[in-house]
């Protein structure tokens, strides 16, 4: 184990997979200079400008070219800079990458990874802050991954690059500098498996991506009050680890879903509905969701904060679900 940043873990994942498999290459804007956040630093020097390819600001063609290149024997890693910019390439991802295998009757695969950083990050406003993971979880054919820790960013990205179908890989911009223990040597994390980040008996929080951290903080604070919160980090949104979530809520009887994305029609709704369908008679409290209000993310901190789920909001929500309500 060594301390590594979330950003460096992603860089190491790409480097190791490119060393392992010469079919892997990366394409996107500014990669030769390390990428917009430095997550490709030094890779062009190591692998050359063909395998770490700088491209025009042509999102549709970056994504579409990756589809064509994935169909014909290479394994592209697409860098979209921001998930917001990937919206310029939705046809290429949703109509082409996600559907080609099925639509063409299984004649080939589209093994590509699309890195689309999500989330709020220092006054970046409405076009650089979105969490759009639910859109892609809705699309048959796509795998959707949202890592929350450096170790997971290494292990999940490596596994994603080895996957035979298109993966939307959503790192969180506010986690780039986060340091954490990362195993030495080969580290692979399976797709579709959640992590029980903290055990508890009174309530289950299901979360993913950056919200894992305020959820763990809230769980820690609540343990001082004698409330045991189990925190499940989904890590992969599609397919999501239904078994782990149902086992946990089966035990605690209470579910709170916490997401940074707009709550309305967010992926949390899928978790909440699935748990309600499967465990209704075992629930000790109504299922709850916490997420952003349905507003674009603003620039000024007091405005931006209105879209942010805080650890205080989480502790308040948990208390409201666990502590018996007195009748007025």
């Amino acid at each position: 184990m060594s301390m590594t940043s979330y950003l460096e873990a992603g860089r190491r994942a790409v480097m190791e997979e490119m060393q392992r498999d010469e079919r892997v290459w990366a394409l996107g804007e500014d990669l030769g200079r390390g990428g917009v956040f430095g997550q490709y630093k030094g890779l062009q020097e190591m692998f050359g400008d063909e395998r770490i390819a700088d491209t025009p600001i042509s999102e549709a063609c970056i994504m579409g070219a990756a589809v064509g290149a994935a169909m014909t024997g290479t394994r592209p890693v697409v860098e979209m800079r921001f998930s917001d910019f990937a919206l310029c390439a939705v046809d290429e991802l949703v109509n082409q990458a996600a559907k080609a295998r099925f639509m063409f009757g299984g004649q080939m695969r589209v093994p590509m990874v699309v890195r689309e950083p999500i989330g709020m990050w220092r006054s970046s406003a409405a076009q650089h802050s979105q969490s759009l993971e639910a859109w892609y979880a809705h699309i048959p054919g796509l795998v959707v991954v949202a890592p929350a820790t450096p170790a997971d960013n290494l292990g999940l990205l490596k596994t994603a690059i080895r996957n035979e179908d298109p993966v939307v890989y959503m790192e969180h911009k506010n986690l780039w500098a986060l340091e954490g223990e990362v195993p030495e040597g080969e580290h692979l994390v399976p797709l579709g498996k959640a992590e029980v980040a903290r055990e508890g008996v009174d309530l289950t929080i299901v979360t993913w991506s950056a919200m894992r951290h305020p959820c763990l903080k809230a769980a820690e604070d609540l343990s001082a009050e004698g409330i045991g919160v189990e925190v499940i980090d989904l890590r992969t949104l599609w397919p999501w680890d239904r078994e782990a979530v149902l086992a946990s809520v089966g035990k605690t009887g209470r579910l709170l879903v916490v997401q940074e994305a707009v709550s309305v029609a967010g992926f949390g709704a899928e978790i909440a509905a699935s748990v309600a369908e499967a465990l209704h008679y075992r629930l000790r409290a109504p299922v709850r969701r916490l997420g952003a209000p349905r507003i674009p993310v603003a620039y000024a901190p007091p405005l931006e904060d209105q879209a942010r789920v805080t650890d205080k909001a989480i502790t308040d929500a948990v208390r409201g679900m666990v502590v018996p309500q007195t009748v007025a």
């Binding site: 042509s58 070219a65 064509g68 290479t74 082409q96 099925f102 639509m103 063409f104």
Partner: protein, 339 residues
């Protein structure tokens, strides 16, 4: 840089009959396949929309015989001709149109999503212009893999007004990729005249502005298309980078087989019927000494083949319904909790 070809090259004689008789056969096979598909749609055998390329056969038949099986082709929603010309099995194609077992895509795609990776046909596409970035990426992969093959990407005139046209052509030039872009210009963006929707001089001017050599070609003259394609493909194989051909042709049918195309005068359609690319090639072959008997045999064989195929396709069973859950993705079983 723009080359203009003679209007009636097909009737100029001196053509290699050994090369163009098979091309005539291919054009008749495309024509018969599509006429029979339209007939089958009227009978309820073809379920979804089909977009015939009747009158445009010279583009497919002029380009694809210049490709090897391992060269790659990307096509459009109006792609039956391209797909047949690239060597796909017409029975599997007709079964696909009928939604039957043994279709090129197992009945999952239909007319607009025919692909046959076994012959380098990477797919028709239901989204105008969407094949351009994919073709560009396929060419990019060929370059990365140091493979010697080339890519041909055929799209309609409507596609030049989509962003991916600009992005793909620019990309192909920047990375010097072995891809030939072919604008098969039938005059109409669905039901609107493309000229009325297009600023500037059009496809070749746009390609040239991005540094791609471009040629204007009479798309109803298969000799002209063949000559231009041969030149362009040789340049691709020599590593000279991407090119564009603008083939001028005309759509004899409506946008789909059921579109009466009442938005254009009948006289205009008649004028183009008289420029039928098949009749023009026949005239050329006749001048070159091919007998009427051989020409009519070529036509008859194509029709007989396609009639038999249509009958066989209609006698094929539906695909197993469980196929709806196959080949979605490896992760997560889509059949779980389906209903």
């Amino acid at each position: 840089m723009t080359q203009h070809t003679a209007e009636h090259a097909g009737a100029s004689g001196n053509l290699e009959t050994g090369r163009f008789l098979p091309i005539l056969s291919l054009m008749w096979r495309i024509r018969a396949f599509e006429e029979l598909a339209i007939e089958a749609q009227r009978e309820g055998l073809v379920l979804g929309a089909i977009h015939p390329s009747i009158g445009q056969e010279a583009v497919a038949a002029g380009i694809c015989p210049n490709l090897s099986k391992t060269d790659l082709l990307l096509s459009t929603h109006r792609g039956h001709g391209h797909t047949l010309a690239k060597g796909a099995d017409p029975l599997a194609m007709m079964r696909e149109l009928f939604g039957r077992e043994g279709g090129t895509c197992g009945g999952k795609g239909g007319s607009m999503h025919i692909a046959d990776f076994g012959v380098g046909m990477l797919g028709a596409n239901g989204v105008v212009g969407a094949n351009i970035p994919i073709a560009t990426g396929a060419a990019h992969a060929l370059k990365l893999r140091r493979a010697g093959e080339v890519v041909v990407c055929i799209f309609g005139d409507g596609a030049i007004n989509r962003g991916p046209f600009l992005e793909g052509l620019n990309w192909a030039r920047v990375f010097d990729l072995p891809v030939l872009f072919v604008c098969e210009d039938n005059g109409f963006s669905a039901t609107t005249r493309t000229r009325s929707m297009t600023g500037g001089a059009g496809a070749t001017a746009r390609a040239e502005s991005l540094g791609l050599p471009a040629a204007e070609v009479d798309g109803n003259d298969v000799l002209a298309v063949d000559a231009a394609a041969r030149t362009a493909i040789a340049a691709l194989r020599a590593g000279e980078g991407p090119r564009l051909m603008h083939c001028h042709t005309y759509r004899i049918t409506g946008h789909t087989a059921v579109d009466p195309a009442s938005y254009r005068p009948e006289a205009e359609v008649d004028q183009w019927r008289r420029r039928c690319p098949i009749a023009r090639l026949e005239a050329g072959l006749r001048l070159a000494g091919v007998s009427d008997e051989e020409l009519s045999r070529t036509r008859q064989e194509a029709w007989d083949e396609m009639r038999a195929i249509s009958a066989e396709a209609s006698a094929t069973s539906w695909p197993d319904a469980r196929g709806a859950f196959a080949d979605v993705q490896d992760m997560g079983n889509p059949a779980e909790r389906a209903f």
